[in-house]
Symmetry: C2
Subunit: 260 residues, 2 copies
Amino acid sequence: MTLDLVPPPALSPARALDSADALEARLREIGAARYHDRHPFHHLLHSGALNRGQVQAWALNRFYYQSMIPLKDAVVLSRLQDRETRREWRHRIEDHDGSAGEEGGIDRWLALTDALGLDRDYVVSAAGILPATRFAVDAYVDFVGRRSPLDAVASSLTELFAPAIHEQRIAGMLRHYDFVNPEVMRYFSTRLTQAPRDAGFALAYVRSNARTPEQREAVCQALIFKTNVLWVQLDALHHAYVTGHVPPGAFRPGQDGGTA
Amino acid sequence: MTLDLVPPPALSPARALDSADALEARLREIGAARYHDRHPFHHLLHSGALNRGQVQAWALNRFYYQSMIPLKDAVVLSRLQDRETRREWRHRIEDHDGSAGEEGGIDRWLALTDALGLDRDYVVSAAGILPATRFAVDAYVDFVGRRSPLDAVASSLTELFAPAIHEQRIAGMLRHYDFVNPEVMRYFSTRLTQAPRDAGFALAYVRSNARTPEQREAVCQALIFKTNVLWVQLDALHHAYVTGHVPPGAFRPGQDGGTA
């Protein structure tokens, strides 16, 4: 058995989560060790090492994640007793769903799948996604409905680490793929401003609402859960479309859902 | 990108599901194309190609599936309006949980993890399982609670195909691994008689309770869902422990949870 060439950094021994600052330091440590910017599939994607079919598979599967985010946020909204927090949270749904005459994140993702030559109906149907994508994304929606409102908010904290990966992705994909242009990458360029706002709010929320070491530990576990949701999706893509073990029924580049 | 050497057989064009016999034929076709006896990880397991750490990883992850089966069946039980069906279904819970003084399937699985040198508390905690294992298994429990009772029963139909794989596994593992003996394999030898009884009941149930082509199609989709639950678990094991991409936090043979 081979091992990854770059093992994740060892976490420091667990420190007492006795303050909001200790919590935030721990969250950033979790991000450094477990956020999916470390995943080999992203290194391949951003360095131009993937072919068009592999990028199609990524965009197709990731669309299912994108499409479920407004539903996830509607569940979170339904858990929040505080009206001020709901007012802040609901713009997340608007950001993804858009408004009449104004495109949202889902439209912007479809601009990307269009540019990759994927059929819109096929993308929206989710008929060709990997089962692991569905299980991971559905686990996220389930998590925010079953766990505490604090856990639900905390599970969004991966956005703290998103701008750096989006910058890498925009630059890397524009440089390396001739089927990509700035117009097509506008989902990510828009998220460069949206994600910090959202992450800042969620971070302030958990800093002030996690008041005991146990609650702060739960916040950390919620972030770990979410990093797993993201990591599993890339592991499944890597296994199917880099190693080459496409599971029964899933998208096969050049055969399903669009132009090769 | 490479592709699997043995692609699954193409399904015949969808025929009208206008009878119980047509349904059963279609279910057997789905099994032939998608059951996890076709998965490369099982070929490695049964042919002696895995090392002890890889077999440990398989048994550890599969324990989580085993441990959730009685909960899954309790959810199914809660969906069944018919008392006769409940009386038949409840022995599945007894088979896995055992009774006072009588071991059940979970005990038998722990006999296997013991023999592999895994620490019981570590196994039972599920602390080292792959996130994909958890998402897939939890999706199964969720499925039987949300879908129709007919779907819930139908999702158990993978047991139709289990005896053949269990026979291969018992023979293959006894032949190839010195850490395996008949005593340790008693989970599987017991299932050789339990699974056909269970599968026979579930098959008769869907044959008589799916009365329209639409209901028969739903039964087929439930079986496909379940084959995905099983396949995803092996894909994740293969990616982590054969290809060598162990995700953050998961079991590392020789480092976690028991003797190397």
